[in-house]
C-alpha cells in the first residue's frame, strides 16, 4: 500500500498478557517512529529507528516496552506484562530521510490497545 500500515487496528488484552503491535512503514522510508496517544492528548514519542538501528528509546515508559526493526523495514512494538495504564492508541510514523531531514512524518491509523 501507499501509506503506513499498522496491525491490528484494535487489540484487547487482559492485564498481565504480552502484546505485539506491528508497523509496516512506507517502502524506502529510512526513519520510523512509535508514539503513544492517550485519550484527549497529543501523541507522545516512544522510540526512533534509522533503518535497523534504534537511535532513541528515551520515550519508552518502562522496561516492559520493547521495539525492534531487525531488517530496517517492518517494526514491532512489544509490551510485556501489560498494565491498565498501557491502554492507549499506539501510532507508527515513517519518513523518507534520516537525521536532520525536513521530510514530514507520515502516520499510520494506529492500534487502539485496551487492557482489561
Amino acid at each position: 500500500g501507499a501509506g503506513v500500515s499498522q496491525s491490528p487496528r484494535y487489540k484487547v488484552a487482559k492485564r498481565g498478557q504480552d502484546v505485539a503491535l506491528r508497523c509496516d512503514p512506507i517502502s524506502g522510508h529510512v526513519s520510523l517512529f512509535w508514539y503513544q496517544q492517550a485519550l484527549g492528548q497529543g501523541p507522545e514519542f516512544l522510540t526512533y529507528f534509522q533503518n535497523e538501528a534504534q537511535l532513541d528509546k528515551s520515550g519508552l515508559p518502562s522496561d516492559r516496552f520493547f521495539a525492534e526493526r531487525p531488517e530496517g523495514s517492518v517494526s514491532t512494538l512489544k509490551i510485556q506484562r501489560t498494565q491498565q495504564e498501557d491502554s492507549a492508541v499506539y501510532l507508527c510514523a515513517s519518513s523518507l530521510d534520516g537525521e536532520g531531514s525536513n521530510q514530514p512524518q507520515h502516520f499510520g491509523d494506529g492500534t487502539r490497545l485496551s487492557i482489561l
Partner: protein, 111 residues
C-alpha cells in the same frame, strides 16, 4: 512539562470565515514546527510546516505564522470549509526528527 501548548481545546467557525489556531512553546531549541490534522480513528496527517528561520509559510488556504520572540505560532485557514473540521495538532522538533506534540484543538466549521 508541556513544551508545546494548545490552550484552546475547541474552536467553532462559520464556513467561509477564517480559522485561527494558536500554539505556544517553551523550548527555544525547537528548530522546525509542524501542523497535523487528524480525523477520528485515523492517524495524523501532515498539513504544513515552517522552519525557525522563517516567519511565514503559505500553502493554498493554509498559512502558518511563527513569532520566535513570543514563542508562538498560529495556523490560519481561509476560507474555512466543512471538510476542515478535525483535530489540529501543533508539533515542534529539535535536532533529528523527534517530534513533540501539543494536545490538539478541535475545529468545527459550521456550514
Amino acid at each position: 512539562d508541556q513544551q508545546v501548548k494548545q490552550n484552546s481545546p475547541s474552536l467553532s467557525v462559520q464556513e467561509g470565515r477564517i480559522s485561527i489556531l494558536n500554539c505556544d512553546y517553551t523550548n527555544s531549541m525547537f528548530d522546525y514546527f509542524l501542523w497535523y490534522k487528524k480525523y477520528p480513528a485515523e492517524g495524523p496527517t501532515f498539513l504544513i510546516s515552517i522552519s525557525s528561520i522563517k516567519d511565514k509559510n503559505e500553502d493554498g488556504r493554509f498559512t502558518v505564522f511563527l513569532n520566535k520572540s513570543a514563542k508562538h505560532l498560529s495556523l490560519h485557514i481561509v476560507p474555512s470549509q466543512p471538510g476542515d473540521s478535525a483535530v489540529y495538532f501543533c508539533a515542534a522538533r529539535t535536532g533529528y526528527q523527534k517530534v513533540t506534540f501539543g494536545t490538539g484543538t478541535k475545529l468545527q466549521v459550521i456550514p
